[in-house]
Symmetry: C2
DNA sequence: TAGATTGTTAATCGATTAACAATC
DNA sequence: TAGATTGTTAATCGATTAACAATC
């Protein structure tokens, strides 16, 4: 299960395999060949086999892959069987949406605390999770065995907060702020840059219109 | 400005250049060399020059790049100077957060309507934008010159809604539902799969712990 | 056994980096 | 002019695809 040097491209694709296998499992499909899966996912069968074989031989010649088994194995590779406590920093629009995100538990992440600068929010709760002042972060992180933080605050504050989080030993940050957090290698950062995603949409839309006319 | 066959990798990077140039501009920096920018962004200078030269020579030998000019040019390449009307489908937690997302206007996107299945929400507004029943989508899209839809609803509904949107001539979809929308080539889809992002975080966190021990 | 399909090696393709001539 | 730095070609690297022997 411990694997060195898996390429980023492969890791990017793993969750998508996991999603498709989960759906197949849900509708009761027991086995699938790389060929059939490739048609469903619009990728090559070769790529699927290559990707999976980075982690071991999950299939069987002449048969294909057992859906349920492969689903579980990819889940383990993704570490979804591990439990982690997390905190949310920022209870604005996006933060509140993330606090209500029910998939955390399904992936092994448990939200234990929420932090915000707004004094009006302090003492209130979201889904039974207390909202606390920013200054309480270090103590809370240490006391509650927190190793992941979700950051959904303006970029200026994000840089500062990231530093605090790193100092109190957080191990990973899910970053929604519009900034690249420059933190030590031993802290993982996964960023969701909505703004950049919107610009890519804009680019593609614009390209299409330039090629086909605005009312194409 | 019309450019064929720019690789996806380059497009993925453009918004990031745009962000850094915007920040440089904001602090009053007038020019920058690919070398200096590369150090700031942690990429190679060569890559920056290659990327930019896909769209034309924006720099000057012996000088570098004019920050403000390059910022504007990349903005044009990304189509941020174009205006588009959009609707939001889904006024749940995430939908409400997106409705409050103030960057839309800055990127040329104007939210004109919100749609939701919940009857209790109908007739109410978010930021002066009316929430309407799903069945009104086609009429509204046609009447208000809408060409982009933001989808933030459960995956089962998303597939169905996407079909309706395509039928009434929408040109691009910003998809937050956990599903790959299988729609015609002439409709652009930009997906933000939060769930997959969280799984990548999980993978990296897990890898780190396996290599360094749980309390590394 | 024959057929199917994997695991894996080899070939191809594309993206990144290095190098340098052009030129401001 | 000399120095700096781009634009661009060539070299390298990595990722994807094709092919097929292994094997269920």
């Amino acid at each position: 299960m411990a694997n060195k040097d898996i390429s980023r491209a492969v890791i990017r694709r793993l969750p998508r395999y996991f999603r498709y296998l989960g759906e197949l499992k849900d509708v009761g499909v027991e086995k699938i060949s790389s060929q059939d899966l490739s048609e469903m996912m619009h990728v090559t069968a070769s790529q699927i086999r290559q990707d999976l074989n980075n982690f071991g031989g999950f299939g069987q010649q002449g048969y294909g892959y057992n859906v349920s088994y492969l689903y579980d194995e990819i889940g383990k590779i993704l570490g979804l069987d591990q439990k982690h406590n997390l905190i949310l920093v920022g209870a604005g629009n996006l933060g509140r949406a993330l606090a209500g995100y029910t998939n955390f538990e399904k992936r092994g992440f448990y939200m234990k605390g929420i932090f915000d600068v707004n004094p009006a929010l302090q003492g209130t709760k979201i889904r039974e999770i207390p909202i606390m002042p920013m200054k309480d972060i270090p103590e809370f992180v240490k006391a509650n065995n927190i190793d992941v933080a979700v950051i959904a605050i303006p970029k200026a504050a994000a840089v500062e907060v990231a530093k605090i989080l790193v100092d109190c030993g957080i191990k990973a940050i899910w970053n929604f702020s519009h900034v690249d957090l420059d933190i030590p290698d031993n802290v993982m950062v996964e960023s969701v840059h909505l703004s950049e995603s919107l610009m890519r949409l804009s680019y593609n839309l614009n390209q299409y219109e330039e090629r086909h006319g605005k009312k194409g």
